[in-house]
């Protein structure tokens, strides 16, 4: 009932959340800015969805629910972890709720569905969680901007490079068999093989795999230097636990996609997750003062270390709010709004570093190579061990050339033929 609580405490008129029609026909300068938040509050990824909403609420509450002098009115809709429902809810927020912009969605298919809808309406749509590469690459839509988000293969590229530097020669990948998995594994595989490494084998398994022993049994005898695991949610929890119980932990180094060691996963884990290396823009165990302060405040409020979901949505609305401040709260001109967001550089985010967007609406980050270590409170968190400065979604490739190669898929992993 987080949402109800919020509605009560926010003290905002929430008539628009009902079925009625917004009473504000004309927008005065102090009329509220309507923010349409789409998050999966039911369905398979509901726990992540709740943290997304928390991130948004946390930011606006700290702002006194005002940006550029205009009150903020949140309209939160459940996308049900389902693309059809997502389109329906997006339609409702845009056509009936008349929101100034949309933000959110978690699963790639829900984000792609909403992106396809806003392509027609021109509504600004921000996607801090949706990682589908092509939304800011080959199939870019100008009003869809990945503020504070990342494209799936963006951090896998530097991780591949780090694996080379570490002296790994042979890697096996285990990944969830869907686009997000293909893109992350592809990012790592391309950089790693182009640098002389070898991808010995790639295992693809369906989402919600209960038993990883068929893969782990083979991996144990493959004589590889490292394993790359592209897992999310419950799959990640199970993979990490089973990796340890197979006795592979400590024997073969485990590299993970950033989702595999996200707080939403390792929060519930013990020592079995220690030592996993991943690459990401955010590391909750960083000693950067801005990050530390954010983690402390968030933990105090929600009694848990912030995950990717909470952090990304928090930074995402912060980014958009900064653009609104620049525009002095005038959002009527949508193309000006979109251009301003694209030009906005975020300097006061929990990352503690200035971040800007590339020409395609995807952020350029200093990417950390992170290792899971024990936090002072006895739980585990990700601590940066190395930094790759200014990593864009195109890594070191020329954007035009890069986009000429096919998108990463099960059949195309960018593996260099030897």
């Amino acid at each position: 009932m987080d949402r109800r609580k919020f509605l009560q405490t926010s003290g905002l008129t929430i008539a628009a959340a009902g079925f009625g029609i917004s009473p504000w026909a004309a927008r005065a300068a102090d009329a509220p800015i309507k923010v349409g938040v789409l998050a999966p509050l039911t369905g398979v990824v509901a726990s992540g969805g709740k943290e997304m909403v928390e991130g948004v609420q946390f930011f606006f509450e700290k702002q006194g629910n005002k940006v550029a002098g205009r009150p903020i009115e949140l309209v939160i809709e459940d996308d049900g972890s389902n693309p059809d429902t997502s389109i329906q809810k997006a339609r409702k927020l845009v056509e009936q709720g008349k929101v100034d912009f949309l933000i959110g969605n978690l699963l790639a298919n829900t984000g792609l569905a909403v992106a396809n809808y806003v392509k027609g309406t021109g509504t600004p749509y921000f996607i801090p969680i949706i990682a589908a590469d092509d939304l800011t690459q080959r199939d870019r839509i100008k009003n869809v901007i990945r503020v504070a988000g990342y494209s799936a293969s963006q951090f896998a590229h530097p991780l591949g490079d780090w694996a080379l530097k570490k002296g790994y020669k042979k890697i096996v990948t285990v990944g969830q068999d869907y686009t997000f998995g293909h893109e992350q594994c592809g990012g790592l595989a391309q950089v790693f093989t182009e640098g002389g490494g070898q991808i010995v084998q790639q295992f693809w398994h369906p989402l919600n795999t209960a038993d990883f022993s068929p893969y782990l049994g083979q991996i144990a005898n493959m004589q590889v230097d490292a394993v790359f695991a592209m897992e999310t949610g419950a799959d990640a929890t199970r993979f990490i636990t089973q990796y340890a119980s197979f006795g592979l932990k400590g024997k073969i180094p485990l590299l993970g996609a950033m989702n595999a060691t996200d707080q939403s996963v390792i929060r519930t884990l013990g020592e079995e997750c220690e030592g996993i290396v991943s690459a990401a823009h955010f590391a909750e165990g960083s000693d950067n003062p801005a990050t530390a302060a954010f983690v402390k405040e968030y933990t105090a409020k929600y009694s848990k270390t912030p995950s990717l979901y909470g952090f990304s949505m928090y930074s995402g609305v912060m980014w958009v709010s900064k653009a609104i401040e620049t525009l002095k709260g005038k959002l009527d001109d949508r193309s000006a709004f979109i251009d301003t967001v694209l030009k906005t550089e975020l300097d006061n985010s929990p990352l503690g570093k200035t971040v800007k967007l590339d020409e395609y609406g995807n952020p350029i980050y200093d990417v950390y190579i992170r290792e899971v270590k024990k936090a002072p409170n006895g739980k585990f968190w990700n601590v940066p061990v190395e930094t790759y400065p200014a990593v864009s979604q195109f890594w070191k490739y020329d954007p035009a050339t890069y986009m000429k190669q096919p998108p990463y898929s099960r059949n195309f992993q960018g593996i260099k033929k030897t």
Partner: protein, 322 residues
Amino acid sequence: MSNITASPAIGAPRSLSTGAIITALAVITVAALLPLMLSTYHLGLATEVLIFGLLAMSIDILAGFAGRTSLGHGAIFGVSTYVVVYAVMTAGLSPLVACLLGVLAATALGAVFGLLAVRTSGVYFLLLTLALGMIVWGICLRWTQVTGGENGLRGAIRPALLSDYRAFYWMVLAVTAVLSLAIWRFVRSPFGLTLRGIRDSDSRMRSLGYDVSLHLFIGFTVSGLFAGAAGAMYALFNSFVSPSTVAVSQSVEALLMTIAGGVGTLFGAFVGSAAIIALENIASSYTERWQTVLGVTFILIMIFAPEGIVGTIRALVARLKH
């Protein structure tokens, strides 16, 4: 034998009375005037009500008139949606040709389902169609090169002529009205009468010399055609398709619309579809537990109006007349 869905609301076939014609014309006129009164969002919902109403009606052909409750119609519907989106976006065909191909694909799939399912009845029919639907869903999910896998297919596929939401609504209304009339005519034809005979007792029909399997097969195929037409319109409506469109939940939702409206009432499908879509969208504004609200509503309908909304109203009207 298979009378689990036999509805007492259906009497002998009636000829088209003047009252019925006037009612139908009045309903269509009101529906045609809706775009002048509703906002774009509400009109979008109304469009969806029509599309899903047609799908629920196609299920009612089997559930209400042949005594066979299908849980595979979501898959038939969704395959048409897939074919339309694929044909326009990847094969570059015109939307009209794509829609025809979609309906054709759905009809063919209906025929395949029919071939496999006609031997069964009752709960076995339910389970078999459920399993067939799951296979389709599995294919759509895993055949990534063609179906786009989890992410699905998307793109602007609506022709420019129908890009206006009002024009699109009127198109859907016209198609739905014509097809509903066709369904109505179909179930009242001698063929439809035979289906009803099969519903009431297939062993008796068999001993009277009717080819029960053939009738059910044709019934299933025709039902697939209408589900496919709904699916093609859904493709134009959403310009997007993903495995959730062919998932079991889609079949279940459509069946629930049929049941909520009243099995065997035919036009109850639209009432059921309107009730469920309205509930989904209103309840979700107030609580994230809207699915619970939906569930409770169904339980209440099952207890207090097992014949569905339209079925119950008909029964009440009949009681008042006497």
